[in-house]
């Protein structure tokens, strides 16, 4: 009886803690951001009344369309590259014995114990004109003089892929783990070749992992201002750079907030797409498929 009571109290405690934590550190700040986004810019007090929609009109201003497009392209390329690397990687991991798999996963996660800012500085040293890449390229005679790698879109994409790759691999691995081997064997028995087995069985069944991985890579990529600052040369390449500049340099908090809300809404829309895609997958060819 006592044990049961303790158990219930413990549960209550955990739930209360979680909810208050989320309330104080997630809900409240977001509500403040949403609230600020409707206020008027005031250089003395950061934000003041009256309420206005002007900030949102400004978000849609033509000036930022370029940055928005740039963000989409950079994040899109990052996502595709992460997927192309992450998919075979996750597949191989799921096919391995338990020990080697644990070791490989461990090796992928270890760099994450180092602060990402420090790792970005390290990439900066690799990509510089006197960095490792250029030294190798020049000394092997592949190029005559060092290439401009740093402070380019290439450097930003390189950094983003490097930082975000594990977020692609982990959901994909979860999908591969759930993949029922007997389905693939059945496909082979019924005469499907490797390509068909992949496109008709493996790909649809791992689609939730693909969509989840892409979302978890794509969305943060648009906000990672420090990667664009350090590797891209502090030009406003990502939406995150604009938000940072509005808060720290221009001190237009309402506008910066409106931009943040815009990103959150975009994220919500993409999550909705994910939800729909998931439903679709479960309906057609998924484990819950009536025809299976």
């Amino acid at each position: 009886m006592n044990a049961l009571l303790a158990h219930i109290n413990f549960r209550k405690l955990v739930i209360t803690l979680t909810i208050s934590w989320l309330g104080i550190f997630v809900l409240m700040p977001h509500l403040m951001v949403v609230g600020t986004s409707f206020l008027t810019h005031d250089s003395d007090h950061f934000a003041s009344l009256p309420l206005t929609l002007e900030n949102y009109r400004q978000v849609l201003d033509a000036t930022y369309a370029g940055v928005f497009w740039n963000s989409l392209v950079l994040s899109g390329i990052t996502t595709v590259i992460a997927l192309l690397i992450g998919y075979p990687f996750a597949y191989l991991l799921s096919r391995m014995g338990r020990v080697s798999r644990t070791v490989l996963l461990f090796m992928m996660v270890i760099p994450f114990w180092t602060n990402s800012l420090i790792r970005i500085y390290a990439i900066k040293m690799l990509l510089g004109k006197k960095g490792l890449f250029n030294t190798v390229l020049v000394s092997t005679g592949i190029v005559d003089k060092p290439l401009q790698l740093l402070y380019t879109d290439f450097a930003v994409i390189f950094g983003l892929v490097y930082i975000l790759l594990p977020f692609m691999v982990l959901p994909l691995m979860a999908s591969f783990d759930k993949l029922d081997q007997s389905l693939i064997e059945a496909g082979r028995d019924l005469g499907a070749n490797a390509f068909h087995r992949f496109s008709q069985i493996i790909l649809p069944l791992t689609m939730p992992g693909i969509v989840a991985g892409c979302l978890i890579v794509f969305l943060p990529a648009m906000g990672m201002f420090y990667v664009a600052d350090l590797l891209g040369g502090a030009k406003s390449l990502l939406l995150g750079n604009i938000i940072k500049n509005q808060f720290l340099v221009a001190r237009d908090w309402p506008f910066g907030s409106a931009f943040s809300v815009f990103l959150i809404v975009l994220m919500g829309a993409l999550l909705w797409v994910y939800y729909k895609a998931n439903q679709y997958v479960q309906k057609k060819g998924g484990m819950d498929d009536q025809n299976l």
């Binding site: 950061f46 510089g128 060092p146 720290l248």
Partner: protein, 349 residues
Amino acid sequence: MTLNSLFRNATAAAALLVAAATQAANDKVVIYNWSEYVPEGVLEEFTEETGIEVEYNTYESNEVMYSKIKIQNAKGYDVIVPSSYYISKMAREGLLAKLDHSKLPNMDHLYGTLLDKPYDPGNQYSLPYTWGSTGIGINTDDIDKNSITGWKDLWDSKWENSLLLTDDVREVFQMALAVQGHSANTRDPQEIKQAFELLKKLMPNVLTFNSDAPREPYMAGDVSLGMIWNGEVIMAQEEMPEIQYIYPKEGVILWVDSFAIPANAENKDAAHKFINFMMRPDIAVRTVEYTGYATANKTAIRQLDPETRGNPTIFPTWEVINRGEFQEDVGDEATALFNQYWEELKAGM
């Protein structure tokens, strides 16, 4: 351990913490300064001499420092080092505390020409620390030094995608305004717009913005030409003498960084002690040697070795100073306009 003893221990620990906190309030000073602006070992010496513990934080632009001080209601830091025009702006907004000159005897060592400036008449709120300039940095191994004489040369299309600019809206605009023969402190929207149009043409040449340590891209070989602060060149020359400094013929960008105390600083006494300590001639000498920026301390200048004193990159000639221009506060309206164009420049790249 019983619950009771646990509780007692917790109370004791809390009491200790409170004691530590009150003690800290008297024996601590929180400095908020530009990165790499105090010689190594000086902070430790200050603690040794006075028993005051130093907490040190850095920033890389006046805008970021101002935002922090403003949002924290001028609390949280005890000593800050704003550039010239930010002193008047922050004093006007009530963010700075008046200095008690009786606690700052070392101010007798300061240069008269750097005192009592329009941005702080009578030095009520600030005392100059170092002064320097923003000019053109060049790697003479890659580019002939004689081929570059002024800001205008940066617009040459052969520098496509190769220049470094400081990540500072006012400095970048001052460069364009100087090329057009206008004052850096203009509030005329027409002149600011013209400068913006000119800068738009410069953007294809820009590889990177950097106000953290602008010398580093030069030293890493990624950049051979662009803007730089004079002190950064001095620091770079220790390893790479080929990195040199040019005073542009249109006029160099001059600035003074001054010590100030935020209005609601918790440790004002300790802050005065720290500022006074930094104005001691021997410390000022070490500051010049470490940072490569000119000191505001006339006693210290006499103690410098002749080579440092005669280095034109650290101490420009009067002719250069007279042709250069100091930044002043241009008011909220013009500032907003500068910022808006700045965003457009960076977003349009």
